[in-house]
Amino acid sequence: MNTMPEVEGEERIGLVPRKRPLTARHVVRYAGLIVLALVFVSPLVFMVLTSFKTRGDAAGFPPSWIPDPFTLEGYRAILTTAGTPVLRWFANSMVAAVSNAALVVGTAALAGYALARMTFRGRNVVFGAIIATLFVPPVILVIPNFLIVNELGWLNTLVAVIVPTAASAFGVFFLRQFFLGIPLELEEAARLDGANAFQIFWRVVLPLSRPALATLALLALLTNWNDFLWPVYVLFSPEVQTLPAGLSTLQSANAVRYDILMAGAVVASVPVLVLFVFLQRYIIEGVSRSGLKG
């Protein structure tokens, strides 16, 4: 009567190195996990498959999984229609996401280092103010930032989706925590060699912080690539839009052309899915870290 909970507890604390028999419990767990995995993966598979269907096939009933015939018509349509320049959106998204990520990491690293390693009057005030904005609902920034961006002449340009969102409070917080964990001796050694604060930062601290910088860059890249509300309202001409805003334009122009819509969705998904497949460790690490210190 005691054995069942006993085994379960041992598993939990990892004291069971022996081979375990495949119990009903395992079967149930895997069955549940696999069903759930199907719920998450099958819509994405269906999206990719539909992007290779003909117009009629994509809107046919009953829905079929395998494209018959297989066609690139959807992709050709989005690449050649003037009102929905998907390649341009793709390039815009790339430029915006990479520039924004660079700006986020650059400014947050400099600020995070000052807050981690330097003492100066007002340090706590500055840090407190930055942290406080983590709790400012983004909605109150939308209207005033639209006017500020307009004053700067950035409305309907890519700069509008690169610069205003680059002040990342999470980034400063995240990198500051990381810098605090770097052994001070390494910086002291560089200082004895005559390096100044910036040289220490550049030559000692940044190279040691590559994983943290990569994590922040990836999170910033994803956030910017996927940002929706702000680009929808500040980028009105098709040729300056990013992919998410473009998808909205594409949907308005082709409400029931699901072959075209799925092709557009695939184009918007491939880069981030590739990043995720190869660098998921950093992405998941970054997200899980955001909770621990919150």
């Binding site: 998450f40 805003a245 997200v287």
Partner: protein
């Protein structure tokens, strides 16, 4: 008792050590630097921070006190009129604003409990070593990296009431197969909440999972020695261990749900009627399509006030309880 004393005992010599040094050069924990150096490091960030985070908060308040039509030259000061309009049932903005606040409320109330419990369940199942664990974790997280636009465009297709996969499979299971998932109530809410859960479940799971792995294994061992059942271990070890993270997840999930926009904009276009047009949707349309920015800014401050009250409640609910 003794553990309480320890940290401050170590902190004090550190402080004494700091102040005993002259100048900045050899302070422990500090790079040598001149007075201006920290500000030079901070400057790039602070420029962005002040321009696009701090000043908009103040500027928005200023805008909300004016009749600020973007397309007209004059922007007369109107005091609290924009706010008064929102609370005056005779004004043109009253109904649309409170309908949208109601929509945000419905969505938040319906989605937050699911987004707090389902990811926790998944995280509990994943908090054991088994082959393929990282693969499952990645699969559940994948929709999140796609972003709301892809997710919404995809699900509008899957939920199409005539040709969508969802109704088709419901029909195969012998269930009603003609639900108008995006154009009728309450089905539209079920769709919006369901898609949001599908999209962000992995995100919350990952945060929970990291927190679960931080709970010391010895606590479970001790509970087990005391004969605690699995349920008792969950209530007396897991939940208390998760408390800080629960407060954090509750907060960010409420803020995210209260800011729901893309799902509604792309899947239901705010419909049927204006039933699923959320507050942030209404604010954006009022301010950035109709250019009534004073009213829109006032709306955003009212929404923010609601969120601030909610955060106070959340922090109060999750506060560290001294007794019991």
């Amino acid at each position: 008792m003794s553990t309480r004393v320890a940290p401050s005992a170590t902190a004090r010599p550190d402080k004494a050590h700091r102040s005993s040094h002259r100048g900045g050069a050899s302070r422990r924990g500090t790079a040598p630097h001149g007075r201006l150096t920290p500000w030079l490091f901070l400057a790039p960030y602070l420029v962005l921070f002040i321009a696009f985070v701090v000043s908009p908060v103040v500027y928005g308040l200023y805008i909300s006190l004016h009749r600020w039509d973007f397309t007209l030259p004059g922007k007369p000061f109107v005091g609290l009129d924009n706010y008064r309009d929102l609370f005056d049932s005779g004004s043109v903005y009253f109904e649309s604003f409170w309908t949208s606040m109601g929509a945000t409320g419905i969505f938040t109330v319906a989605s937050v409990p699911l987004l707090l419990t389902l990811p926790l369940l998944v995280a509990l199942v994943m908090n054991k070593k088994f082959p393929g664990r990282n693969l499952f974790r990645a699969v559940y997280f994948a929709p999140y990296v796609l972003g709301v636009a892809v997710v919404a465009v995809l699900w509008r297709y899957l939920l199409d009431n005539n040709i969508g996969l969802v109704n088709y499979y419901l029909g195969l299971l012998g269930l009603p197969d003609d639900t108008a998932w995006l154009t009728s109530l309450p089905a539209a809410w079920v769709s919006l909440v369901g898609v949001t859960v599908w999209w962000t479940l992995g995100y919350n799971s990952v945060i929970y999972l990291a927190a679960l792995q931080d709970i010391p294994k010895e606590l479970y061992e001790a509970a087990r020695v005391d004969g605690a059942s699995a349920w008792n271990q969950f209530v007396h070890v897991t939940l208390p261990g998760l408390r800080p993270v629960l407060a954090f997840i509750t907060m960010i999930t409420i803020i995210a749900s209260a800011n729901m926009f893309g799902q509604s904009y792309l899947m239901t276009q705010g419909g049927p009627g204006r039933a699923t047009r959320t507050a942030i949707y209404q604010i954006s349309e009022t301010g950035l399509r109709q250019y009534q920015m004073g009213t829109a800014a006032a709306m955003s401050y009212v929404l923010t006030a609601f969120l601030m009250v909610l955060s106070v409640v959340v922090f109060w609910l999750f506060r560290e309880r001294k007794q019991s």
